[in-house]
Every structure is written in structure tokens, then in C-alpha cells.
Point group: C2
Chain length 478, copies 2
């Protein structure tokens, strides 16, 4: 017997138990589930389809910027990690070692690929003619130190892309480090409809081994920030550690400049949190693997006619990724619930009465609005509606973000606003120790970004009262 | 200073030292190289571009057949391997275990994903409504027992796709097991221009845990067969081992039927061997990441005019993946060599004299033929030439394959032909022990396929003289 709606629907409300709601939306929406092995997840087809759309959007764009994909080994020798001291220290607790088989030194499953890639770069790069070198890798990585698993957000293994570029000059390197951050912003805002804050990381939050880390942060509905992507200007740190040199146009041996940049399947977690509701997933049309589902409404005596009309409709709307649910044994109401749970942006209902009137009924997933549309106007109406869903989701999230960034001039204010689950914009001394104390005292607030736009004048650090280095946005984060 | 042609070109002849020639073509063509870790390879952008084209061709086709992509964990618990006895035994020597971190049982890096996927399938599949279930995964796998590394062909880690489907009936399962083999044949023959033999594997060569293994075999120019892809009918072996059951339309609990099918980056190795020559790579146009390279021939005084014309040409030919090499400091001859080394199917030369005559010169990579073509006829000429290159490469390889399959009626003949590096078609008893003896006596010949087309009458096994079970093609293999 078909499952009943009340057994498949979401049983927890988003504003009552956010964490449990998130789990249910993902598991019942069949995006992913926990693996029997602690800390690992299985990405199911509906979840992987989202990842494929994110990949496709981004991959095309970076290829136009001259980036090429490659693939480096999964296992990295211990000696490679040790070459860049900060990097080695940063990743030491994360590494899983392959045990009983190796003949030489210990091998770690990659937590990120700087070291193994730059060993090759040191052999590949000879002269300025070989630069810029822009390589990206789509792969799985493993970071063992995950305390509490959260699907898409905190798992030991995740999928990601990591870009690794080498440049002749510091200026070019810095310029492109920021360029990839802009590309990430496009993924977040244009594809996923998630507004982001952009800026630099403080010394404490910087990537292990980088000179500067740029990051995008989004605000989730539970008041926690989520890092959406990072782009690191590595300076010459790794080039020096791995002996990457090039012969300049001036025939002198020079050390190049490098960046690395990555985002991961955690973007899918952000996507779920940002838009979904008590009925389940809500997917922005541009990233939805299925954008429209047609549900023919029939009884056994008119099934043939209605389904035929629905199929005609489907073949007419071939510019969209479209599904048709003509299964027997499920009521239309059951089907509505199922496709709402799965977040399909637009539903088309068509029954015998609609056929008589030469119309269909369009139902939006995001706001549940329902409208009868004449077949002749359907094409334009669908186009406009999908665009409107995309921008409505973005605008709603943008409004939420803007209304949750507050200023704090002193410590009491800071602590209170962090408690209120706000992102707090404040002057900060930049000290690693000071930031550590802030984290301890607030039960976990960390600096998220130093916004690119800074006031002309400095102020006093909200925590220690010293002269500030910059204005920083603090918050609790995933 | 630019490198000279004689230092970058291939220094070994294909028919003198095939193995060394293969290595040079791959390394100098920048497709891949050895990693500092034994048994691993680095797939460079030019090699990865081939993989991306193979992926794209195949992925689109299987999606049309209803297959969806997903992602399962890299690490598999020891207990999962033990559930299907033959599978466990077959893969035991291949496994790399993750050592010092795990809290529970030992975890192996996946050599293939049957076990971890079917554990999930046992939870996902409830009724006939959930079937057929068709899931594919693009991922890396690790098989430790590699004696001698050979780029793309024998490495501990490789990239592949693995499809895993579940069906209600044995018939449907068998039908689709063969359908995916047909899809592999299309990849080999239509995309890579490599003709293949198709058939079933003998008991000895069957996949560990399968009921039947179907395979495609290609013949490499050195007389060795190369397995291009396999599709396994798993019967109910894994379903029973993993407790996969479904409620049939008749409301009875039933055990479903399964298949799994895979091909890997070794296809790139086959591609290199099949078509390339003493000047380097030769790529069939359909799989070539760059199909055409334009080389403007200029001196400093006319560079601007010639390059401008070349750029115009490039933007006109936007239906092709096209490169333009307008670098200074390299002679045209040097550039010709470089792009020939990299296997670009078609070269367009354009110089001041060509501009005067409103023509360009087309040079084919496969046969080196050179032809002046008027600009007005270029579009059609390029289309025809690329198609002709594709089919010429296939036909040449097909002729080679056909002329190297010989019959053997008795053991002397068999042994002699194997020594002559032929694929030997012979009656065979099917015995695992008999096949083991054949392998020992011939220094490595194994059964490659039992062709689908079999004679009506049986004969005597060429080795043991017993009544034959089928006609089999034997050969030495990679």
C-alpha cells in the first residue's frame, strides 16, 4: 500500500527544533543519509543532482577564466605535510593514515591537496611561459576530527573543488584570489539564492599556511553563520616550502605567488536551511534538478485522456527539467505532498475540467499561490514565475540577513547581541588571544569576516578596548 | 629559451619499444605522470580533459536510460566485505585499511562499492514501486595489489564509474546487464574509435560474486588484449547476502535481481595505444578536448595582420573546440611538432600568402595530408575531414583487430599463435583448472571473451581435448 502523507511528511517545525527539522528535510527529501560508519554520509540521487548543478554552473565559468581540471592522488606522504610548518600543524589532527600496506613512509588520505599538487608544480614550472598555471580538482577529501556529524555540514568525508593557481606577480595573484571569491558569490547568490557577506578572515581564522584568507559567510535561519567558500592568497609560503621557482622574463630565477580556493557539498546544507519550510525542501528553480512537476488528476475512466494531455504538455515544455507523475494508486493530494516535500519549484495540475477550459493550474512551492493559466499563456507565465521564485527566495533571505546584522559599541552590547543570535559588527583589535577570549566568554562566537568595506576611522576593540585594527563581523557559526 | 623540438619529441619508435613509447607519449603529451608514491598517478589537465569528454558522452546516455548519480562513502567496514563470500575472497588482497583512527571496526578504502551500496539498498527498497533502482557513481577507487605500475592501465588508484541496478525480474536484469555493455561499446567505438569484441567471461575470469560477467575487449597494437568495460549480472547473490527484499505486486516478499557495471580511466590508456604514432598522440576528433589548432605564420612585420585573420577564423569556427597558438618566440615548425605531439586532429596554418589567396592550409594529424582550402569552403571541409579522421582511425583499428584473430584447432597451433601475439579463437572446455594450465603453459594467456555468437556445434577443447562448452577467444592481456 502507498505510504500515507502523515508518515512521510516533516513532523518537526523549523522554528521549534531547527536541527531536527533540518535532518528530517534532508532524510525524508532523500537528499542524503547517515552512513553506518560514524561521520560519513551517503549522498542520494536527489542530493547529488543538486551537486551536479552546482558543479556545472561553476565549472563552465572557471573554464572560461582559463582554469583546467586535473586529478591528483588520494594519498599523500607524511613528508609532504611537514614541508609547510603552519599547514602541517593545522591539519595534523585531521589526518587518517593508511596502515598495514605501505612499503615506505606513512600515507594520509588527503584533507586538501596543496602539498601533493605543489610537489608536482615544482617540477612542471620552469619559466614565465608556464605561468599563470590554473588547475582545479573535483574530488573527495577526508578530515577525521569531526565531533558531531551533521549531514552536508560536518562529515568526515565530503566532496569539493579545490583550485590551485600560480602566478608571476603578487598583484596578479591577489587579483585572482579575489576573482574566485566573486565567482563563489555568483554560485551562492545567483544559483542558490543565498545572499553572502564577503571579506577577509582574521589571523585566528586564516587557512593554515595562507597569507590571507577571503571568505563568504551566509546567515542561516537559526542565527548561525555558515562559511560558503574560501579563497586563500598563499603568498610565497608554499612556493618556498616546495621549491617552486621560475625563470623570469629577465632571465632571473624567481619565486612565484599562489592561491587556493574551495567550496564543498556543505553548500547543499546551506541551500536546505536557507529556503526550506515546514512542508520540506524549497529549491530555487535554477539549481533544482526537476523544476516543474506535472500532476494529471484523473479517475480510471478518464485516465487515458488526461495523461495524454499531460504528456503533450511535458513535451511542449522541453526547455525545462520537468517531471510527470502519472502513477496509479496514489491520490493527487498524496502526490502534492510528496513533490512539496522534495521542493519542486512549480507544480502543474491538469484535470478534466482544466482540459475543457483549455487551462492548467500552476502552484508555486515557495508561497503556495495557485493560479489557473490558459495553455496559450503558459510558456511566458512559467518563465516569469520561475524567475520570480528565484528572486523572491533571494530577496527574502537578503532581508533576513540585513535585519540580523547589528552594531556593538561595547562588550555588554556585544555579548547580548550574540546571545540574541545576531551577527555583530564591531571594532576589533585583531589579536588572536583577544579573539580566543571572546569565543570562550560567548560560548563560541568567532569572527566571521572583516568586510571589504571599512570605515575610514578606527575605534576601540569591543572586547579589550585597545585601538581597533578593523571592523569585524562576529557570530556563532557551523 | 623555448625548448627545442628534439628535446620534447618522442624518442622511441612504437614498433621498436612499445612500452617505452607508450610512456613517452603520455608523459611528453602531458596526459599523466607517475606520482612520488608508488603505484599512483597524476592525471594532468590534457589527460583529464579526455576523461571529462568520456564522462560527458556516457553520463548523458545513461541518464536517458533512467540512471541517476549518487555518492557513497570512501571507506567500507570490514564486516560488509565478509557478507558475500566470493566477493570477500576476490578483493581481500586489494584492500588498503585505514589504521590508527577508527573507533570501531577496520575500514577499507573502497576497491568497488557493491557492499556499501547494497547495505543502503536493503533499507531503501521496500516494494515493487521502488524498482527498478538504477544508480551510478563517478569516483576514485583503490586496489593495492598492483605489481608494476603502468600509467592509466595499472595503478593502485584509478577513476571510474560504477553502476548498480536492482530489478524485479531476472529477465529485466539480464536484459539491462547487456544494455549497459552496449553503451560501453558505443563509448569505445563511436567516441574513442576503438573496435571491441563483446562476450561473456569464463568462470575463471568472472567478477568476484557475479553470476555472469560480460566484457568488452580491445586489441592493442602490441598484440595484448585490454578489457574496456564489464557488466556483471549479480543474480541474487548480493541481494541474499545483504538482505535486499521487496514486496511484489502479488503482496509476497521477493528477492530482487541486480547488476553492476563499470569502466575506468584505463580507457585513456587504450586510446593512446590504439591510435598514436611515433610523433606522439593521435586523438579522434570526437573525444579531443581541442579539435583544431590554428597556427598563424608570421614575421614581426606582419604579425598583427596575420594574427587578426587567425582570430577572425577562430571566432567563425565556434562550433569546434579550437585553439590558437600565436605565441612569440617559437617557430612554426616547433609549434607543428608540439601540437602533433599533443594529438590535435586538425591543424590550420594561415600565413600572408594564404591571406592573399583567401585560403588556409589544413593538415590532418592522422595521415599528415596537407591541403589548401578556400575560406568559403572551410566550414564544410572541416566537418567532412573531422568525420573522416574519426572513421579512418576506427577502420584502421578494426582492420588490425580482424587480421589478428585466428582460429586454433589443436594445442600446438594454439601455443604458436599465442606466441605470435594473436587473439586465438578456439573451442574450450570451460574448466577453471584447464584455463589455469593454459595460462601457465603459455606464460600468461587467458580467456578474454566467450563471443555472443557461437557455432551451432561444439568441438574439442584445444588444450585438454574434452568436449568443448563454447568457443572462446584467448590472448595475453594487460
Amino acid at each position: 500500500m502507498p505510504k500515507k502523507p502523515d508518515t512521510v511528511g516533516i513532523t518537526v517545525k523549523k522554528d521549534e527544533d531547527f536541527s531536527e527539522w533540518y535532518n528530517e528535510v534532508i532524510i525524508k527529501g532523500e537528499l542524503a543519509e547517515h552512513s553506518p560508519i560514524k561521520g560519513f554520509m551517503i549522498i542520494r540521487p536527489e542530493g547529488y543532482g543538486l551537486w551536479e548543478n552546482i558543479q556545472s554552473f561553476f565549472d563552465k565559468r572557471i573554464k572560461k577564466l582559463g582554469v583546467k581540471n586535473a586529478y591528483f592522488p588520494l594519498l599523500i606522504p607524511e613528508s609532504f605535510f611537514k614541508k609547510e610548518a603552519e599547514h602541517a600543524e593545522g591539519f595534523a589532527p585531521e589526518l587518517a593514515w593508511v596502515g598495514d600496506k605501505e612499503e615506505g613512509e606513512k600515507l594520509a588520505i588527503r584533507p586538501t591537496s596543496e602539498t601533493i599538487m605543489y610537489d608536482s608544480y615544482s617540477k612542471w614550472i620552469r619559466s614565465w611561459r608556464d605561468l599563470p598555471l590554473r588547475i582545479n580538482q573535483w574530488c573527495n577529501v577526508l578530515r577525521w576530527e569531526v565531533k558531531q556529524t551533521k549531514l552536508f555540514l560536518r562529515t568526515r568525508e565530503f566532496l569539493w573543488q579545490e583550485g590551485h593557481c600560480v602566478y608571476e606577480t603578487e598583484e596578479e595573484c591577489e587579483k585572482e584570489t579575489k576573482l574566485y571569491l566573486k565567482e563563489y558569490k555568483k554560485v551562492c547568490e545567483e544559483l542558490l539564492a543565498i545572499p553572502v557577506l564577503e571579506g577577509e578572515k582574521t589571523d585566528k581564522e586564516r587557512f593554515a599556511g595562507a597569507k590571507t584568507t577571503y571568505a563568504l559567510e551566509a546567515l542561516m535561519p537559526d542565527g548561525k553563520a555558515l562559511q560558503m567558500g574560501t579563497s586563500h592568497n598563499l603568498g610565497q609560503n608554499f612556493a618556498k616550502a616546495f621549491g617552486i621557482k621560475y625563470l623570469g622574463k629577465d632571465e632571473k630565477e624567481r619565486i612565484p605567488w599562489q592561491n587556493s580556493w574551495g567550496f564543498s557539498t556543505r553548500l547543499i546544507g546551506a541551500l536546505v536551511m536557507a529556503h526550506s519550510d515546514d512542508k520540506g525542501l524549497v529549491l530555487p528553480p535554477r539549481v533544482a534538478p526537476i523544476q516543474i512537476v506535472i500532476i494529471p488528476i484523473f479517475k480510471s475512466e478518464n485516465k487515458e485522456e488526461v495523461v495524454k494531455k499531460a504528456e503533450e504538455l511535458k513535451s511542449k515544455l522541453k526547455n525545462y527539467n520537468i517531471g510527470l507523475d502519472d502513477r496509479d494508486g496514489y491520490t493527487p493530494g498524496w502526490k502534492f505532498n510528496e513533490w512539496e516535500l522534495k521542493g519542486i519549484p512549480l507544480r502543474i495540475e491538469i484535470g478534466p475540467k482544466d482540459i475543457e477550459k483549455n487551462q492548467v493550474v500552476l502552484v508555486r512551492r515557495d508561497n503556495n499561490s495557485k493560479e489557473a493559466v490558459k495553455i496559450g499563456q503558459l510558456d511566458k507565465k512559467i518563465k516569469d514565475t520561475l524567475e520570480d521564485i528565484q528572486s523572491s527566495l533571494f530577496n527574502k533571505a537578503k532581508k533576513f540577513l540585513n535585519s540580523n546584522i547589528v552594531d556593538a559599541k561595547n562588550w555588554d552590547d556585544f555579548a547580548k547581541q550574540i546571545k540574541n543570535k545576531k551577527l555583530v559588527k564591531t571594532f576589533f583589535c585583531g589579536g588572536v588571544d583577544c579573539e580566543g577570549l571572546i569565543k570562550d566568554k560567548t560560548n563560541g562566537a568567532t569572527s566571521r569576516v572583516i568586510p571589504f568595506e571599512q570605515p575610514k576611522e578606527s575605534g576601540k576593540c569591543a572586547h579589550c578596548g585597545k585601538e581597533s585594527k578593523f571592523l569585524v563581523i562576529f557570530g556563532k557559526a557551523y
